[in-house]
């Protein structure tokens, strides 16, 4: 249901499908965290293009992983949420990391920022 891929330059792409509630979030949390702690990860892209439903558990999951990424100054981008999900992200202050684009473009954005540093 959830695909977790890592690019060569250390960006995790999490592709979510189906529904993301408390139960589903609890099942994938550790997996994503251990990938982040495994080494040179400097960004997480959450691809929600194929996600049918999300509640505030999704916010908890994403904010938690942003915390995991903080020591390495990792970046987070959220791609293509539905209109309802986008409202939830805005309520939670995550509106600024929402993008409507494909994964390649998002990888480019994170890669680009890193290149400048």
């Amino acid at each position: 249901m959830t695909d977790i891929a890592i690019t060569k330059n250390g960006i995790i792409v999490v592709t979510l499908r189906g529904e993301l509630g408390n139960h589903e979030a609890n099942r994938i949390r550790t997996q994503i965290s251990s990938e982040i702690f495994s080494g040179k990860v400097h960004g997480v892209i959450w691809d929600l293009t194929h996600l049918g439903f999300m509640d505030s558990s999704g916010i908890g999951l994403i904010l938690g992983r942003m915390r995991d990424l903080a020591p390495q100054n990792g970046e987070t981008l959220i791609l293509n949420p539905s209109a309802t999900m986008e409202k939830i992200f805005q309520f939670s202050g995550l509106g600024t990391v929402v993008r409507h684009c494909n994964v390649e473009k998002a990888i480019g954005e994170i890669g680009g920022v890193l290149h400048e540093q």
Partner: protein, 148 residues
Amino acid sequence: MNNEMTLSFVAIEENEALARMTMTCFITPLDPTIEELSEFKTIVSEAVTNAIIHGYDCDGKRKVTIHGKIEDSKVTMKITDEGNGIFDVDQAMEPMFTTKPLLERSGMGFTIMESFADNLSVESAIGQGTVVRFEKTFSPVTEKSRMR
């Protein structure tokens, strides 16, 4: 259309999806828009998750009950647990407030529910449980929007 139903289930995480699906099916005959439907589903999910996690600490024994009523295009829902209760409802409803940060609860549940519901009320007493009530009126489908 008028209709009424009650759903009751033990407090395990797996039943969050059951509650979302069942209540979504219940209101489908109202022909809601995709956004109205997903907002409704989100409110139910937040309230049920709260009841399971905070009300009952996922004990798998006690039951969450959802009562649903449809009167024309208005849906009224009541989500009840007989669990821990909320110490301070006003504080619980503040954005980002959570008693379970270690479980990565974002504290956004009530904010989301209040934004997506037409009227939301929370009644709670320590050791007696919590009742969340809300209404949501769905836009009547016009011939034009049906043809789209």
